[in-house]
């Protein structure tokens, strides 16, 4: 079963996705799916409120451009503030994940 995305992690994934190059909303979705090896189930419409929230906070910036199939599309890229936020969150997430991993790997001798 494909897991539902953990609350709060969608923002981090979006920041990561757009940090790799500017993308339109559907592109963000595809990149998240690819980055997670198809392992995350993102409710597609839910992506947009998250994008707007990040834009409202000044973490990503948007501009209208032309897509690969010639249609008008809105592209997102990381702002300087977004870069800082991504670095902070990535670090704390890694620490958290490592901690949980250590906890789950604990053997009876260790406790």
């Amino acid at each position: 079963m494909i897991p539902n995305i953990l609350p709060g992690t969608l923002d981090l994934l979006i920041l990561k996705a757009v940090s790799l190059g500017k993308l339109h909303g559907y592109g963000v979705l595809l990149r998240i799916v690819r980055m997670t090896d198809d392992g995350m189930n993102v409710q597609q419409g839910a992506l947009y409120p998250a994008l707007y929230r990040l834009e409202h906070q000044g973490l990503i910036k948007s501009e209208w451009g032309v897509s690969e199939n010639g249609r008008k599309a809105k592209y997102y890229r990381l702002s300087a503030a977004g870069r800082r936020r991504l670095d902070e969150q990535a670090e704390s997430w890694n620490e958290f994940a490592a901690m949980i991993a250590r906890a789950l790997a604990a053997t009876p001798q260790e406790v």
């Binding site: 339109h24 909303g25 559907y26 979705l29 409710q43 597609q44 419409g45 839910a46 947009y48 409120p49 998250a50 707007y52 929230r53 834009e55 409202h56 906070q57 000044g58 897509s67 199939n69 249609r71 008008k72 599309a73 809105k74 702002s79 300087a80 503030a81």
Partner: protein, 891 residues
């Protein structure tokens, strides 16, 4: 952080102002997403219809995510408030549709806002004065606080020298005092206020001179040549803007003084000065704790806080207390803001100011409540519209918002007008204060422009006004649910809205206040009228009066000083010989406000009205006072010169005294004395030797006056003389003569006698005008309220009137049935107002109203009633024209 806030503000602003654009963009983005997904799914082998179906399911509801998108942009709050441009546009439309309401309500609010802002600005300036100098907030004053007597001890010459030598946390320490000197430029002499000030004041203020130089430390040395710096205005008026003024020698008192610099326009440090001479502590030579009163000032050294400076000063103060216990044991030096050393408002002052501001705030509340009443009354005509809006799904909040929007738009307009009026009102107020205290008397930091704080306060007032005027009626209008309202709108249903208790009280209070204000203005006028209209008893415009003071300072060894008595006699002699006029001397010029005192009559059988004490104006006058003014002694005789020299116990009373205190009895030979007071024993007995005509000794009681012989020891008195046609040229001759007689004789307040009277009534005339304006506004508001209530009544009862007319009722019976309640409200209001008027007038004039007063009062009540009825004319005509068929046909 900052960029984050900026991004949020930008995003909010765009979301609010370009709502439809933003929504279209969101829709297009969603569409793009779904279409791209469809193409991808088709590439996996699905048919287009199937791919479209899958893509839509995967995406979810467009509307749901659009809603979430608005929330993500922080717009949800605004959606819930549902305050949109539509509301504002609607508000504009409503205001245009009811121009009368807009104009009257708007003006009332504007007046309230203007008055409140001026009041607030005055408080702001007094509470938080700002010195308009470079880093002015670091300029402080140093005082000695007398612990035993709870007062400031300002004789601190020695402390000043100590502080200047020892204090490190306060730099550029200086001191000043204000003195009056005769300035003689060429042929022209006049008395001017001079700041004797330390040279350090100039680097402290950091304002470079326009011409020449500042005062310097070397100017303070004993024996240094006397120098002076002058202000820009003085340079322009006294020296005609002469570019070579620096180096000119003028006389200050007896001392030839060189002008060394001109300061730029608007420079008036320390208070409102235009002349600066050096202060030389070494020249005073007085003992510790004595000497002149000084204000000591300085600038907090860089990086030093107020507390640190205070700590250092306290240490120095403790040393002084040990070293000089006699003079300094009870003195605590302290550091205060510079402006506090010049003017320190006390608790009573703040209380008065606070109450004044609360009163002004009440005025706004009253004005807004009236607008609320108008909006409510108008809502009656819009009841159908409101009911239908409700039925179509507008909730209560929505309707309230719309009312609020309307009131807000009106309030914002009023605030703009109010601010403009306040700006000019404040300038007027500052100008008035300047006139009342003599030109330029306000300190240089008093500003006639509105501060940002006051503008902020205006926004708060605007919101308050809009809340009262908009939300109050909205809540009442929307109290019943829309189904009830719709039912009531069906033929025969009648309206749901009623004028309730709140409104009734409001109208009664309103009318009472309206009755009270013009009467208060009239009473005030009557109270002060004697001062304004008393005939001084001779052609005042032909006479000039001037105040004479003998200055204590700037004595020159070469010119021995004369005392006041000799100066005065010499001046009178020269006026006769050189100008050809007799001079009269008095402690007060006729027409001015005189000191008042209580008098007792010797061995009096009960005097008229059973009183034995009389209040009368008093003056001390030269023995030839009446002869010099060419006014007759109607009974008895004038003072003799020997009586003046021996300070004999004789008095002259005026005719008003004879009539009012003695009931017309001949007073010659009888005795009077100053009555005993709470603090004083009764004075010695004086024999009445003469009766003079009434010479306009203005005072609260109008007339009675007692003249004493002139006390030769007085240091200050007025000279009055006939100007022989040209007051202006006489004034300059008088000034020059006085300086020739005694260089230290100050001549000030030179004016024609008829102007004396005016100058004493400036304040009261000013206050009368303010009262008149308030009365007019109160009257306008009242009429507005009465009109709206009566109009409301007619609208609500149109159907009933129709029925009555159809059943054959006479116009009189219809009017009495319809208007009974509103008219009772107005009647009660007038009655309450009348009672208040009687109460305040008896408080002001004492005793019960006379027959004449009663007639006047009755006439006034009838007049007010008639004025109030004016507001009913239009609705009454409307009521009488109701056609039964029209009224019964229904909506």
């Amino acid at each position: 952080m900052i960029t984050g806030i900026a991004a949020r503000v930008r995003s909010l602003w765009r979301g609010l102002t370009h709502r439809s654009d933003v929504e279209a963009e969101v829709h297009e983005e969603f569409r793009f997403h779904v279409d791209a997904r469809v193409e991808d799914l088709i590439r996996t082998g699905l048919s287009r219809p199937e791919a479209t179906r899958r893509a839509n399911i995967e995406f979810g509801s467009f509307e749901h995510y659009k809603d979430e998108a608005r929330a993500a942009r922080g717009l949800r709050l605004f959606d819930e408030l549902s305050f949109s441009w539509l509301d504002v546009r609607l508000a504009f439309r409503m205001l245009r549709r009811y121009p009368c309401l807009t104009v009257v309500g708007g003006l009332a609010m504007a007046f309230g806002i203007a008055a409140a802002v001026v009041g607030f600005e005055i408080v702001t300036q007094l509470a938080n004065p700002r010195l308009p100098l470079d880093r002015g907030e670091r300029i402080v004053a140093l005082q000695n606080w007398h612990v035993g007597e709870s007062r400031v001890e300002s004789r601190l010459l020695h402390d000043f020298v100590t502080w200047r030598d020892e204090l490190e946390s306060v730099v550029e320490l200086g001191a000043f005092r204000s003195v009056w000197r005769n300035l003689v430029v060429g042929e022209r002499a006049e008395s001017v206020e001079v700041a004797e000030i330390s040279a350090s004041a100039f680097p402290l203020a950091r304002v470079p001179p326009l011409l020449g130089r500042w005062l310097g430390p070397s100017d303070e040395a004993a024996g240094a040549p006397p120098v002076m710096v002058i202000g820009y205005d003085v340079w322009q008026t006294r020296f005609d803007g002469d570019a070579r003024v620096v180096g000119r020698v003028v006389r200050l008192g007896t001392v030839p003084t060189t002008v060394v610099g001109v300061m730029p326009q608007d420079y008036a440090f320390p208070v409102a000065h235009s002349f600066w001479v050096p202060l030389s502590p070494s020249t005073f030579g007085s003992a510790r704790g004595e000497g002149p009163s000084l204000v000591v000032f300085g600038r907090l050294a860089n990086g030093v806080s107020n507390e640190q400076a205070q700590a250092e000063l306290t240490t120095i103060g403790a040393r002084a207390a040990t070293a000089f216990p006699v003079s300094h044991a009870l003195l605590q030096p302290r550091i205060v803001p510079f402006t506090r050393a010049i003017f320190e408002p006390d608790g009573e002052f703040w209380l008065g100011l606070g109450l004044g501001n609360v009163f002004l705030l009440m005025l706004i509340v009253l004005a807004s409540a009236n607008v609320a009443l108008l909006l409510f009354a108008r809502a009656v005509t819009r009841e159908a519209e409101i009911a239908i809006k409700g039925a179509l799904g507008a909730n209560r909040a929505r309707l309230v918002t719309q009312f609020f929007a309307e009131a807000l738009v009106l309030a914002v307009f009023s605030a703009v007008i109010g601010l403009a009026v306040a700006r000019f009102g404040l300038a007027w107020f500052v100008a008035m204060a300047d006139v009342a205290n003599g030109a330029g008397a306000l300190p240089f930091w008093a500003s006639d422009t509105l501060s940002l704080t006051s503008v902020g306060y205006t926004s708060a007032l605007t919101l308050l006004a809009a809340l009262i005027a908009g939300v109050l009626p909205a809540l009442m209008v929307t109290r019943s649910d829309h189904r009830t309202r719709l039912n009531h709108l069906t033929p025969g249903g009648g309206g749901t809205m009623r004028i309730g208790g709140v409104w009734t009280v409001l109208i009664v209070v309103q009318v009472a206040v309206t009755v009270l204000f013009p009467a208060a203005a009239f009473n005030f006028y009557r109270w002060t009228a004697p001062a304004q209209t008393t005939d001084v008893g001779f052609p005042a415009a032909e006479y000039v009066s001037a105040r004479l003071d003998l200055d204590d300072g700037a004595a020159s060894p070469s010119a021995p000083r004369m005392d006041m008595e000799r100066s005065r006699d010499e001046l009178a002699r020269r006026l006769v010989s050189e100008v050809g006029v007799d001079a009269a001397f008095s402690t007060r010029p006729p027409g001015a406000q005189h000191e008042q005192a209580w008098f007792e009559l010797e061995g009096q059988t009960p005097a008229p009205q059973g009183a034995t004490r009389f209040r009368a104006s008093i003056a001390s006058v030269g023995f030839d006072f009446f002869a010099a003014l060419d006014v007759p002694i109607v009974d008895g005789r004038a003072f003799l010169s020997v009586e003046q020299q021996s300070a004999a116990n004789v008095v002259i009373v005026n005719k008003a005294f004879v009539e009012q205190a003695l009931g017309g009895r001949n007073p010659i030979g009888s005795s009077i004395r100053r009555g005993a007071g709470r603090m004083a024993e009764p004075g010695p007995w004086y024999e009445v030797v003469g009766v003079a005509v009434n010479l306009g000794m203005a005072g609260n009681t109008g007339g009675p006056g007692v003249y004493f012989p002139l006390d030769p020891t007085l240091a200050s008195l007025y000279v009055i003389a006939h100007a022989n046609g040209d007051a202006a040229s006489f004034a300059s001759r008088l000034r020059n003569l006085a300086v020739e007689v005694e260089p230290n004789l100050q001549v000030t307040e030179i004016m024609r006698l008829d102007e004396v009277q005016k100058s004493y009534t400036v304040d009261t005339r000013y206050f009368s005008r303010v009262l008149a304006v308030i009365s007019a506004v109160a009257l306008l508001l009242s009429l507005m309220a009465i009109y709206s209530v009566v109009d409301f009544t007619v609208t609500r009862r149109t159907r009933e009137i129709g029925v009555r007319v159809a059943l054959g009722a006479s116009p009189q019976s219809i009017l009495s049935a319809i208007f009974r309640r509103p008219l009772i409200h107005v009647g009660v209001g007038i009655l309450v107002g009348a009672v208040l008027v009687v109460a305040t007038s008896s408080g002001m004039f004492g005793g019960l109203p006379t027959f004449g007063d009663s007639v006047l009062m009755a006439g006034y009540v009838v007049l007010m009633w008639a004025v109030c009825m004016l507001a009913c004319v239009v609705p009454t005509r409307r009521a009488l024209r109701v056609e039964p068929v029209e009224a019964l046909r229904g909506d």
